[in-house]
Amino acid sequence: MSATEVLRAPHPHEFDPYKLGHGNGGGHHDYATGHGEGGPASKRVIVGYGFWLFLLSDIVLFSCFFAAHAVLQTATAGGPTGPQLFDPFSVALETACLLTSSFTCGLSAVAAGVRNMLWTQVFLFITGILGLAFLLLEAHDFAAMMARGASPQISAFWSSFFAVVGCHGGHVTVGLLWLGTMMAQVFFKGFRPNIMRRLVCFNLFWHMLDIIWVALFTIVYLIGEGR
């Protein structure tokens, strides 16, 4: 086949060099859902997806602290061990707070979905209160443990314990600060598209904290205690 023949071919894409099966058509005809062939995705999808990736990277960050904790499990250097000082009741209470807050956070999303200012704010507020309660309980826990001779400076085990639990607590703190600004934004600016996008991100963040906490109370407290 000579070159000019190729060029005069009826459709320029009859020639599919990579045998990818894209020989004909393409463009707008073959939407593959979720594959973005129809041009740039909507802003909502872009923002949500970007935040999703951020959450995944955050989970990787936590996984390092978890790995360190698993490795340093027995490195108590003669100091107290975890199960000696854990307070299962307090942990259960913290779990309850956080789980409920995740639920109310979801309800705020439902309310925001129908642009209901009052209930959105109410549920966000309850979420915040529960988060705060969680933090105070955790701080109280830490204080009690320190009073009984455990601190991050005592041994590698306690270093890793305070680091992994504290990292989660730090995330909750940041979440609360964010929650505050979100409530203010919703209040002053209403349910604009950009505010709605941020609300969705905040929701994802808060649920993710709960997921981390599930891993945390299982691995650090329950399995740690089971040993």
């Binding site: 859902t33 990787v60 969705v200 399995i223």
Partner: protein, 137 residues
């Protein structure tokens, strides 16, 4: 109201960001129902975790496994009911990203524990040098 939503929706059809309920199909009641269901399941699984810890129903060393399974189940509940993850085609990218994340987490935690355990076994002085018990030759 609808205008705003549409403006935000334009672009590629059939692609959904994470965390979105299919708003158009969900009434408030359905929304609340979904969260309630997730909440109930999650609470149940949490209680089960705390319960299993002290149970005698399960063979002792198996408890850890059970705890792990319960945690995975609960994380799944959160992902599905709270974060609205589905396996529908419009969620492909979200699920793929999640799978990638999980793979990395498993590699890092699993790899670290494997490596560090081997090192600990071999480097923690079990096999002593003869030094400390030997007398002068």
């Amino acid at each position: 109201m609808t205008d705003e939503r549409n403006a935000d929706d334009e672009g590629n059809v059939g692609d959904v960001g994470p965390g979105f309920m299919e708003a158009a199909d969900h009434s408030v009641r359905q929304g609340i129902q979904g969260y309630l269901m997730g909440f109930a399941l999650a609470a149940l699984l949490t209680v089960a975790s705390f319960y299993v810890l002290h149970t005698t129903l399960i063979w002792g060393p198996g408890i850890v496994v059970m705890l792990g399974v319960l945690a995975v189940a609960q994380i799944g509940v959160h992902l599905v009911f709270f974060m609205h993850l589905t396996t529908a085609p419009d969620n492909t990218n979200n699920v793929l990203a999640l799978a990638f994340g999980i793979l990395i987490v498993v590699l890092i935690i699993g790899g670290s524990i494997w490596i560090m355990n081997r090192l600990d076994e071999r480097l923690m002085p079990i096999e002593q040098t003869t030094g400390q018990t030997m007398q002068m030759p």
